[in-house]
Symmetry: C2
Subunit: 239 residues, 2 copies
DNA sequence: TCATAAAATATTGTTAACAATTTTATTATC
DNA sequence: GATAATAAAATTGTTAACAATATTTTATGA
């Protein structure tokens, strides 16, 4: 776990700063779901007292990024398939509302801002800098929410953005196929520029569905019956 | 403040229980926005140690129900007008999505459940039991979310429900005019029964707009200029 | 009597110590 | 060598004491 947290022991970080760094480590896929978060270790890593870490873990648990079990400590959360599906479905609702709100108030400066961000994202992809590309693609969604100007929608979207990697990594793994498709960001900006709400929402939904549709219960391996289990090993079919 | 918290010193409540009781006091309009939440007092009231209260306050602050200022303690939050407007606008988005999801899966048993709840609510109104009526009208919305079956939407609606009284009490006061209109709950159930998504959403939006439209910046009193302020008192116009 | 400064009290923030529980390592037994 | 029991170590949970800060009360001077 130590390698996945920034080298933070330098300057006595605040509670908020520690919170942010752990969140960022989740977002960057550096802290996989299920990772045990030990208080003393974190306190040493960040150069803070254990009490501060306990506060941070409380907050992270309250946000569902972390599962806290009494006497067993904290782990990075592992959402169920159902929760993953619910999260993505809700994400479609929130992102659509953001687009609608944004388009009702958009101006040319806003569009230029978005295109500039898209440009950075595209260059990062071209350079093969996948860490930066990931960060910028996340920023794209954040920026839409910030520009829409509804602080509650923004808050919920940021919450969803923080939780999305947990779903993806838990159920699909860390594969570039499961990230934002960059060209869809461009198409969304085009639709925004054209003030075309319907089209923007349509593309956004496709954008999200390409990941969402893969989140489902995997077929369970057929359960061997008791008779099969009790047969001598030589007579069993290969597993 | 003591009178507004349940008599909780009896049985060593858990952290979650203390959290719930404070949330409920906000929801019941017993804890007005701006109320100072003193740690030692709360600890004595609930019969717990101060450390537990600090954890609860951290969680409440993280949920924006409470404002925590360093060295000055915690107060029940007082959302701005803008935040109130954003919250209601977001509520319309979330409630609409819940209705849509619910109607896609509704059966007769669900409709009966909702009608039963509505009946209790109507009887409370008729008896003039306004505390119970308030609680049941809140439960109506909660129930819609629970029955829709998307846990993330449910979570966000519950968050919104907890924060809504803060907006109303801060900006409109504790007036029965600013509560749910009971007949609109009935009309929403009718639309659900008819699987009429469009109509259900329309009524829900009207339901929320009757409060939302009152949340706005009040015109500021004209600011007296310096000349007026420096005139002898006898020559000043009445305030 | 009013305004200001000083003192006292209350409240919030932090900490290390200790208790309780869980996990890991070691030892004993078959 | 495998398993169970025991011991040791690690981790989480709780607490009271103390530090730091804010608020309230009291004293003093004009």
């Amino acid at each position: 776990m130590a390698a996945q947290i920034d080298n933070p022991g330098r300057n006595n970080p605040s509670e908020d700063e520690v919170l942010r760094q752990i969140e960022q480590a989740v977002l960057d896929h550096r802290l996989p779901p299920g990772t045990k978060l030990k208080e003393v270790q974190l306190a040493n890593l960040f150069g803070v007292k254990r009490g501060l870490i306990r506060k941070v873990l409380t907050r992270l648990a309250h946000s569902r990024l972390v599962d806290q079990t009494p006497n067993r400590g904290a782990r990075v959360a592992q959402p169920s398939v159902k929760e993953g599906q619910d999260l993505f479905a809700t994400r479609r609702v929130i992102e659509s509302a953001i687009l609608e709100t944004l388009i009702a108030r958009v101006d040319d400066k806003t569009v230029r801002q978005l295109r500039k961000l898209l440009g950075s994202e595209q260059r990062a992809y071209q350079r093969g800098d996948s860490e930066l590309a990931l960060a910028l693609s996340v920023d794209f969604h954040r920026q839409l929410a910030a520009l829409a100007g509804n602080s509650v929608l923004e808050e919920y979207l940021n919450d969803i953005i923080r939780r999305t990697p947990l779903v993806i990594l838990t159920h699909l793994g860390d594969d570039e196929q499961n990230r934002c498709r960059n060209q869809e960001h461009a198409a969304i900006i085009d639709a925004i520029e054209q003030r075309n709400v319907k089209n923007a929402i349509k593309i956004m939904n496709q954008h999200l569905m390409h990941i969402e549709s893969k989140i489902r219960d995997k077929p369970k391996a057929p359960q061997a019956d008791l008779e099969t289990l009790l047969r001598p090993a030589a007579e069993r079919a290969p597993a």
